[in-house]
């Protein structure tokens, strides 16, 4: 896989406004022939580690980049992964397994809002 970069922007909580930059060349995540996966959770080995939100599971969710499209996967987290749909900003839709994710689209892990850029 060629060099892919992404920024995960924290949109709420005490770290609101922080951007975590990840790239394949830096060795972030897991790279396979046609996909790149980043993990989010409280565990030490997660690519995005969010320690201040107690509603986040150790391994809470994964971001997959496949053929130019980002996907958000909930890893059977206790308190859920949610996404804001474009037609209703105030209704959070729970991610049951995996859902396509656009750059800029808000998603929530536990009680922390995030977006990709």
């Amino acid at each position: 896989m060629i060099d892919i970069k992404v920024g995960i922007v924290i949109m709420s909580g005490v770290e609101d406004g922080t951007t975590i930059k990840c790239s394949t060349t830096k060795g972030d995540g897991t790279v396979s022939a046609n996909s790149w996966t980043l993990t989010i959770g409280r565990a030490e080995d997660c690519d995005l580690r969010l320690q201040t939100d107690t509603y986040i599971s150790r391994l809470h969710a994964k971001l997959h980049y496949v053929n130019g499209q980002w996907w958000l996967e909930d890893c059977e987290s206790r308190n859920g992964t949610f996404i804001t749909m474009t037609n209703d900003f105030f209704k959070d839709t729970r991610v049951r397994r995996m859902i396509p994710l656009e750059l800029g689209q808000l998603f929530r892990i536990g009680r922390t809002w995030l977006r990709l850029e």
């Binding site: 922007v9 949109m11 709420s12 909580g13 005490v14 770290e15 609101d16 406004g17 922080t18 201040t52 107690t54 509603y55 037609n87 209703d88 900003f89 105030f90 209704k91 808000l106 009680r111 809002w113």
Partner: protein, 648 residues
């Protein structure tokens, strides 16, 4: 008003952070602090754009959510975004030659930063951030809202010419620029308690512009209606119709707000509501007009687009009934260990034995409404669709000045002692009707000779809530009554008041309208005592059985409108000839109306009997197939109904 300084804003931002259990300071706390300060620039700009500070604060809290009870830091840290915004604010303050940042500098910094949650909330409320920034830059902080010189007069036919201070202020601001306006008609709203006025604005030279319908109601309801109109209604209306074209007027210092429905007619003629037209046209002509004009005009894009819809009755109709419980708040530590716990899915049968004084813990319900004046909060299983408004619980006695609760918030747990059950409320409403029969009996007299009996609706409604209904789903008006239907130029039909428009059970609108016609057209002809209501019931039995009515009787004439409504309803049934879904809707709509204060005693009596008759039709048909206690399969109304229809 002097400028508000950053040092005045920060303590309020800190309080907001603690109330929300965040224990850090971010952009959202700064923004909410500015909104909470009375007369602030931020509050005034949003108010000019049709939003009260409370509405926007609620939206921000809803999106961000509360934190956890345990504080995780010894100090109160600032977020990285806070720091970024402060840098912007300091730079802007320097440009404005302020010694320290003021509210205007901070507001501009938040708007320019563009990425924070409060700004995203403003965008979601369809506010243009650049326009707000220009307003923030140029707005005069010393500008006071003075009494606007708009004279309000009433049409000679309007008997009630009283207007409270809030209503006067809203009307004056809505028609600012006109020297005077004339209130042509007062229309009473539906169950929401809102008031509607037909208003003609006049110019200096005595000419006037087209009349509009102004709706004034509780601020949250009006602002929700404007949002709902934008997202659900605007694109589903016929070309010639009533539209919301201006922003709502929502004064910061009032609990009321107003919106203006403008009529797109191409003619200079004031539309009239159907109530005003009834005396002139008569019930039969009204009925024909409903079927030949209203139904085809709106039906094409609304009711005629019904898709198959299978649901349990409670999902569409529980919200029409009184709250499941009203409880007095009790601190969790004071609760007995053996209290009942209510959570979704609600198994009502388990709670039927609960009564006044029992303790109840409610888990994972959503805050539906917060009334800070009365210290009452209403919970439900959700806060948007009919299903989500089901199983309302009223909680009294919480100190809302100390605890923050916001609409849409999920309450993990709240507890209290039962003050009143749904059944208590319905029985009290029924007692107020001064019944000439025993409310504890299963059957009640339906005819004036008391020989024929029908089901006592108080004994039957709870079972109905679990029935499976096979019907249709489509866009529905959600509050269709004679006051919301207008007759325009060339007798063209208009609808107003879209506060409850949604995708729902198609037949609901027609059951609502039947209730309105029975109350406002039929019952005034019948009288007001129980026997007058029973006379109407006798005719309704004939209509239900598909029998023709006498032609020369005034009461039968008034009921012609009902026959026409049933013709329309017939086209909205999930399966032709299967009327059970209509009787379910009618039962629930009628039960709701027995406690309406603004309804005459005779009409409320009729509503009780209509609920009984409709329940009776349902029981009769289910008995003929499955016995008194239908199994889950047999409760399907399509299989349960055997005969009888309202069609002629």
């Amino acid at each position: 008003m002097p400028s508000i300084l950053l040092k005045d804003i920060l303590p309020i931002a800190r309080q907001e952070s603690y109330r929300m259990q965040h224990y850090f300071i971010g952009a959202e706390h700064l923004f909410i602090a500015m909104l909470e300060m009375k007369g602030s620039l931020t509050a005034r700009i949003l108010e000019e754009n049709g939003f009260t500070p409370e509405y926007v604060i609620n939206a921000i809290r809803l999106k961000i959510g509360k934190g956890v009870r345990q504080q995780q830091w010894s100090s109160t840290p600032n977020t990285p975004r806070y720091q970024k915004i402060m840098k912007y604010a300091e730079k802007i303050a320097l440009e404005h030659r302020h010694a320290e940042p003021e509210e205007r500098d901070l507001l501009l910094a938040i708007l320019i930063e563009q990425d924070s949650m409060p700004v995203r909330v403003l965008k979601a409320l369809k506010l243009d951030i650049e326009t707000l920034a220009v307003s923030a830059q140029n707005h005069s902080v010393t500008e006071e809202i003075i009494d606007l010189p708009v004279k309000i007069v009433f049409h000679p036919d309007v008997t009630d010419t009283s207007l409270n201070k809030s209503f006067t202020m809203i009307l004056k601001r809505m028609f600012h620029g006109y020297p005077h306006i004339r209130i042509e008609q007062r229309l009473s709203g539906g169950y929401s308690g809102a008031q509607l006025f037909v208003v003609t604005p006049y110019q200096m030279d005595g000419t006037h512009h087209a009349a509009a319908v102004v709706k004034i109601g509780q601020t949250d309801d009006i602002l929700d209606e404007a949002q709902r109109y934008d997202s659900h209604v605007k694109n589903t209306l016929p070309p010639l119709t009533a539209r919301l074209e201006d922003k709502p007027i929502a004064p910061d210092n009032s609990h009321y707000a107003g919106i203006k429905y403008t009529f797109i007619t191409g003619h200079d003629e004031t539309p009239r509501d159907l109530r005003a037209v009834i005396r002139e046209w008569g019930a039969s002509a009204i009925g024909e007009w409903l079927r030949n004009e209203l139904y085809p005009t709106f039906g094409k894009i609304w009711w005629m687009q019904g898709r198959a819809f299978r649901f349990e009755t409670w999902r569409e109709y529980d919200w029409l009934l009184p709250p499941l419980f009203t409880i007095d708040f009790v601190e969790p530590k004071q609760m007995p260990v053996d209290s009942f716990t209510l959570r979704f899915p609600v198994r009502r049968a388990r709670f039927l034995t609960l009564q006044h004084g029992d303790y109840l813990t409610i888990e994972n319900f959503i805050v539906h409404k917060v009334d800070r004046d009365q210290n009452i909060m209403t919970l439900a299983i959700g806060n948007t669709s009919a299903a989500e408004k089901a199983y309302r619980i009223k909680v009294r006695g919480i100190d809302l000045s100390k605890n923050v609760y916001y609409r849409g918030e999920v309450l993990e747990t709240i507890s209290g002692r039962i003050w009143e059950t749904r059944s208590d409320q319905l029985i009290m409403a029924a007692r107020d009707l001064r019944p000439d029969f025993d409310l504890d009996e299963d059957l009640i007299p339906a005819t004036s000779d008391k020989m024929r009996k029908i089901v006592n609706p108080l004994k039957h409604y709870d079972t109905l809530l679990d029935w499976q209904v096979n019907g249709l789903i489509s866009k529905t008006h959600g509050d269709l009554h004679l006051g919301n239907i207008m007759v325009g130029p060339g007798n063209s039909p208009f609808l107003i008041d879209f506060a409850h428009t949604r995708d729902g059970h198609t037949i609901f609108d027609w059951a609502c309208l039947e209730i309105s016609v029975l109350n406002e057209v039929v019952m005034p002809v019948a009288g007001s005592d129980w026997n007058a209501a029973r006379k109407v019931i006798e005719y309704l039995m004939q209509i239900n059985a598909g029998l023709p009515l006498e032609v020369n009787n005034p009461l039968a004439k008034a009921l012609q409108a009902i026959i026409e409504i049933r013709q329309i309803a017939q086209e909205c049934l999930g399966q032709k000839g299967h009327w059970a879904e209509y009787y379910i809707a009618l039962t629930m709509c009628a039960l709701r109306a027995i406690s309406w204060d603004n309804l005459a005693l005779g009409s409320r009596r009729l509503m009780f009997l209509v609920a009984g008759l409709s329940s009776h039709e349902l029981r009769k048909s289910s008995n003929s197939i499955a016995g008194e206690t239908p199994s889950p399969e047999d409760t399907d109304v399509n299989t349960a109904i055997s005969s009888g229809s309202g069609s002629q």
